[in-house]
Amino acid sequence: MKIGSLIGDILKSFFKKPATILYPVERIHAPERYRGQLFWEPEKCSGCQLCVKDCPSNAIELIVLDKVNKRFVMRYDKDKCTYCAQCVASCRFACLNMNSDQWELASLRKEPFTVYYGKDEDVSFLLAERAATSHLHSTE
């Protein structure tokens, strides 16, 4: 039995540089495979809805504006997402990817967590439509 067996280690630590990364001061990068925020490219999407079906937490929704002309908008909730990348694995056209650099997602409010992906005119069309209907609801 010994007492103070760690003495060598604590002395070494004392003279060594701390193991600490100075995160908020110096930004660091996550590894390449890290699963951060989800991104969607509308060009390749066929609208099969497999990703939506497989999502364990209803974080994504593919809103079909016009099926024939392939006008889709994807609603994505960063705060619901479990960051499991099953949607990425399910997609046959590789239109989904999780960005390894978008992981600083904290926010003081919940609204910014919902994002809409798609072509600009589709998104603005959808949002205008939604605003109009919500206006209708509020006046009822």
């Binding site: 100075l22 001061v25 937490s57 479990t82 992981w103 600083e104 904290a106």
Partner: protein
């Protein structure tokens, strides 16, 4: 500005400064998978070492300023969460960590959960991720501290976190 007012303003500034630089935290698990909990604990360990930002994990709610809450809030933990929150002295802040702590995440719709901390107590910062990396938790906490900064100092917001070794302020904006 007359003297008493100047004194008062200085006092308020001093209080704010102290509050920003010494946020003691208490941690409550309201039914998460404990993935977030170990990540919160990991932020205290040498790799991340939140003590350099003045953050200490306290055991008693009476000593804490920040309630770090994880989990979708199960019905059993609900009462305890409210009680812990009420035991904390003012001013107090709540940080909801993890997707399930914000909306219920993967557990959304389970029969026994309230789907998020903000359904039970007011939340100041949301940190999504399942679980968020310790860095992301630190980022969330620094967001909270920035929001405490008075507006007039908003232009040097990033200067909140000074490098404990060199004493310099960050060159690049936090989270940009």
């Amino acid at each position: 500005m007359d003297l008493p007012k100047a004194w008062e303003a200085a006092l308020v500034d001093l209080k704010t400064w102290a509050r920003i630089n010494s946020p003691w935290a208490i941690h409550f698990n309201s039914g998460s998978c404990n993935g977030c909990d170990i990540e919160i604990l990991a932020t205290l360990t040498p790799r991340y070492d939140l003590e350099r930002l003045g953050i200490k994990l306290q055991g008693s709610p009476r000593h804490a300023d920040v309630l770090i809450c994880t989990g979708p809030v199960t019905r059993q933990a609900r009462e305890r969460l409210i009680r812990t929150y009420e035991q904390m002295p003012d001013p107090k802040f709540v940080v909801a960590v993890g997707s399930c702590g914000i909306t219920g995440g993967a557990f959304e719709g389970c029969y026994n959960v309230a789907n998020g901390v903000d359904k039970v107590i007011p939340v100041d910062v949301y940190i999504p991720g399942c679980p968020p990396r310790p860095e992301a938790i630190i980022f969330g906490v620094s967001q909270l501290l920035q929001s405490l900064q008075p507006p007039k100092k908003a232009k040097n917001r990033n200067a909140i976190v000074t490098n404990p070794i060199t004493g310099s302020t960050p060159k690049k904006g936090v989270g940009e």
